[in-house]
């Protein structure tokens, strides 16, 4: 998996959504989406609700997702990058390229400073730990995910929303 690449045109809004689309295939999670396994960047304009924009574009391009959740944020060029995890059904958007998700250590720093460098794989790792936490804490999330999904998430150490860099 490559590091995040800039979008094709400079963002003008204060928030850019960085979306990781995940589905379960067998007992493995894989990254997929309109940009294949790469992070999918979506502009959020000042009047937009980033959550609504991500949900709407995901629905338009892949069908209704099972789960949309923002899991971390970090400073980006000209604004904030808000990372989202979008879970789609096992047989949804099956024509889109995908890669299995491996495990990664999290990017960390001191108790009062964000990480100075962060790889895409670390953002995804944190996102899955965040959803693992939600699956224990949020009944709506638990209900949205299949038993197989919950079993895979049990392997991730739960962790709530955090600033990554």
């Amino acid at each position: 998996m490559k590091s995040a690449t800039p979008p094709p045109w400079g963002t003008e809004g204060p928030v850019q959504a960085e979306v990781f689309v995940v589905r379960l295939r067998g007992d493995r999670l894989e990254l997929t989406g309109p940009c294949g396994p790469e992070a999918w960047y979506i502009e959020s304009h000042p009047d937009d609700d980033p959550m609504e924009v991500v949900n709407r574009l995901a629905t338009n391009l892949m069908g209704p997702p099972l789960l949309v959740h923002s899991t971390s944020w970090r400073r980006g060029t000209g604004g904030v990058i808000l990372s989202f995890l979008v879970v789609v059904g096992d047989d949804q958007a099956s024509d889109l390229a995908s890669v299995p998700i491996g495990r990664a250590d999290l990017a960390r720093n001191t108790a009062t400073e964000g990480a100075t460098a962060i790889a895409t794989s670390q953002v995804v790792e944190h996102a899955l730990r965040h959803v693992a936490w939600l699956a224990q804490d949020d009944a709506a999330v638990q209900a949205a995910l299949s038993p197989a999904w919950l079993a895979v998430l049990a392997g991730y150490v739960p962790e709530p929303f955090r600033h990554l860099g």
């Binding site: 979008p7 094709p8 309109p34 940009c35 999918w40 960047y41 979506i42 338009n60 391009l61």
Partner: protein, 56 residues
């Protein structure tokens, strides 16, 4: 003698990996549609054409 410019096929590579091709008039519409539908971005004709390259 090269092809007339009007019908020359141009290419734009989006950072997300999508490759779009077409004549100048076609390509502007294709790229603007992709930018809006996939990235929520409004792009001008000039922005699209500044990133277009002749198909090799």
């Amino acid at each position: 003698m090269g092809k007339p410019t009007r019908n020359r096929v141009l290419v734009v590579h989006c950072a997300c990996g999508v490759v779009m091709r077409g004549t100048k008039g076609e390509l502007v519409l294709i790229v603007q549609k992709h930018a809006l539908e996939s990235h929520n971005m409004k792009t001008t004709r000039e922005e699209v054409l500044s990133r277009a390259r002749p198909e090799s």
